[in-house]
């Protein structure tokens, strides 16, 4: 977001992007379920150069108490960037951007989790961005879904996530940092493939109605790729060694 210039070649004449990918190719993604000893559930994701760690606690007692709900458990999400995660040191205090992203990720996860069996409790999702390179909210959401599943929280589906966007008048999958800075549009999407539900959707940039439709469809296609990797991560932990760390 912010300054956009067109000096960089974002898409060459062969349809290859600035980091060597094709237009419909996501970055290299590695997801690992588990990894943290104390957390009830955890996940680690490398999404291109993004490195993100997610820990889940709960259902557990709510502090402060007035936040608790007698009808259902509540979900709390904190998205936090380490000061060393970006090129110029980031002030460690939560920024307005981080507060907003925490909120949209929470609302993207809420349709998936089933918390009415745990009234008066909280499930806390802590997302730590160790290294950021564009598309952190999508990578974080995908990892958070795996961490929630790893914590044994009942879920209707996992939320997969990927961004689509527009560079050089072309709709592309999985916008990286350069493409976000210099491109024409960025549309992060969170999607539950089994339920066909979009649970996170944002956009900045200009799209005409046809591009808009294509962009949503491209993003959903990306989500389906991520979804397979999320399932694989859980299978690797729970089917190969019976879930023991």
């Amino acid at each position: 977001m912010g300054g956009r210039d067109s000096t960089m070649v974002l898409l060459d004449e062969n349809g290859i992007r600035c980091d060597g990918r094709k237009i419909d190719e996501p970055r290299k993604i590695m997801i690992k379920a588990g990894g943290l000893k104390n957390a009830d559930g955890s996940a680690y994701i490398e999404f291109g150069d993004n490195k993100i760690l997610v820990g889940v606690y709960g259902p557990r007692d709510v502090h402060p108490k007035h936040m608790s709900n007698t009808d259902t458990g509540i979900l709390r999400v904190r998205y936090h960037m380490e000061p060393f995660s970006v090129s110029e040191r980031k002030n460690p205090a939560p920024s307005r951007r981080e507060i907003e992203i925490s909120k949209v990720i929470k609302e993207a996860l809420l349709p998936a989790v089933i918390l009415d069996k745990f009234p008066r409790t909280a499930v806390d999702v802590f997302i730590e961005i160790l290294q950021a390179d564009g598309g952190t909210r999508c990578a974080a959401l995908a990892a958070a879904s795996v961490a929630l599943a790893d914590a044994g929280i009942p879920m209707r589906d996992m939320v997969a996530s990927c961004a689509a966007g527009k560079v050089a008048d072309t709709i592309i999958l999985d916008v990286n940092n350069e493409e976000d800075q210099a491109g024409q549009a960025d549309m992060p999407i969170g999607y539950m493939p089994n339920l066909d539900k979009i649970t996170l959707l944002q956009l900045d940039g200009v799209l005409n109605p046809e591009e808009f439709k294509k962009c949503v469809e491209t993003g959903i296609a990306g989500c389906k790729i991520v979804y397979e990797l999320q399932k694989k991560a859980l299978q690797e932990k729970y089917f190969q060694n019976g879930g023991d760390q």
Binding site: I99, K103, V104, D196, K197, I198, G205, V206, P209, K213
Partner: protein
């Protein structure tokens, strides 16, 4: 508003019953926004202003234009910042103190809609490159709450910007100095219009009022520009949309946005 009450639950069942018959609680059609009234230049001491009522939601935007230092990496661009605040007099549940996540989201979504449409051409707001630029600050306050603050704030900001007058500054002795009597219109291009739609049960309604807002499962705010492009979007709430629903919302936002854009133009013309 933050907390759901028992009344909200009762209202939701009534709202759903009515929706099943194609009706809304206040008698509107599903794709019909509330009455929008705009009073421009409501705050003469500001460089531009608007007082907007969308149904019973009321917002005021004042635009202040003043010299500022450019951001370090953007010396050839002026500054445009849009903020939004929920005043304690707007609703009994609003408390003083630092803004909560709802309000931060509101301010950021409204800012993004106007910014991403490139309504304000920041490259024309330079007094001296890398040294001094013009800052345009659109500050919005909510004075009365009845749902859908996103659109009410966005219309206030847009109307205020459309009618803003920009003073002129020149560099003298290395300082930006006001040139008397050289005011001009703020350079604006397209007119962004945000349209918020709520999903309640299986129904999608445009411009949810306070009762609908408290009952909705999820919402999406889509901003379109004068050319009918979609320039910004934000989904919220505890449920999700299907692809078909999102495409439909995109179409609704273009259609409804076009009507509202005319209202904004008329209001700006009357200034």
């Amino acid at each position: 508003m933050a907390q759901r009450s028992v009344i909200d639950d009762l209202k939701k069942s009534q709202i759903l019953e009515l929706l099943a018959q194609g009706k809304r609680i206040d008698g509107r059609a599903l794709d019909e926004p509330r009455k929008l009234s705009i009073e421009v230049n409501a705050i003469p001491k500001a460089n531009g202003s608007a007082r907007v009522r969308l149904g019973d939601t009321e917002t005021i935007c004042g635009v202040k234009i003043q010299p500022d230092r450019p951001f370090p990496d953007m010396g050839d661009k002026g500054i445009f910042i849009c903020t939004a605040e929920l005043l304690p007099l707007s609703h009994p549940s609003v408390e003083t103190g630092p803004p909560n996540p709802d309000v931060i989201e509101l301010a950021r979504v409204v800012d993004r809609g106007v910014r991403e449409s490139h309504m304000v051409d920041v490259s024309e707001l330079v007094i001296q490159k890398n040294k001094s630029v013009v800052g345009v600050f659109a500050d919005i306050v909510v004075v009365d709450y009845d749902g859908n603050l996103f659109d009410a704030c966005s219309y206030a900001a847009t109307a205020a910007l459309l009618t803003s007058k920009m003073p002129k500054w020149e560099m003298k002795d290395d300082l930006p100095t006001l040139v008397e009597g050289a005011e001009s219109d703020l350079p604006t291009s397209t007119i962004p219009v945000s349209v918020t739609m709520a999903k309640i049960g299986d129904y999608i309604v445009v411009d949810p009022d306070g009762d609908e807002w408290a009952s909705m499962d999820c919402r999406v705010t889509i901003t379109t520009d004068s050319d009918g492009n979609i320039v910004a979007m934000q989904k919220g709430g505890h449920d999700g949309f299907t692809l078909d629903e999102i495409i439909k919302c995109g179409e609704l936002s273009i259609k409804t946005g076009a009507q509202i854009r005319e209202t904004l133009k008329q209001a700006a013309k009357g200034s």
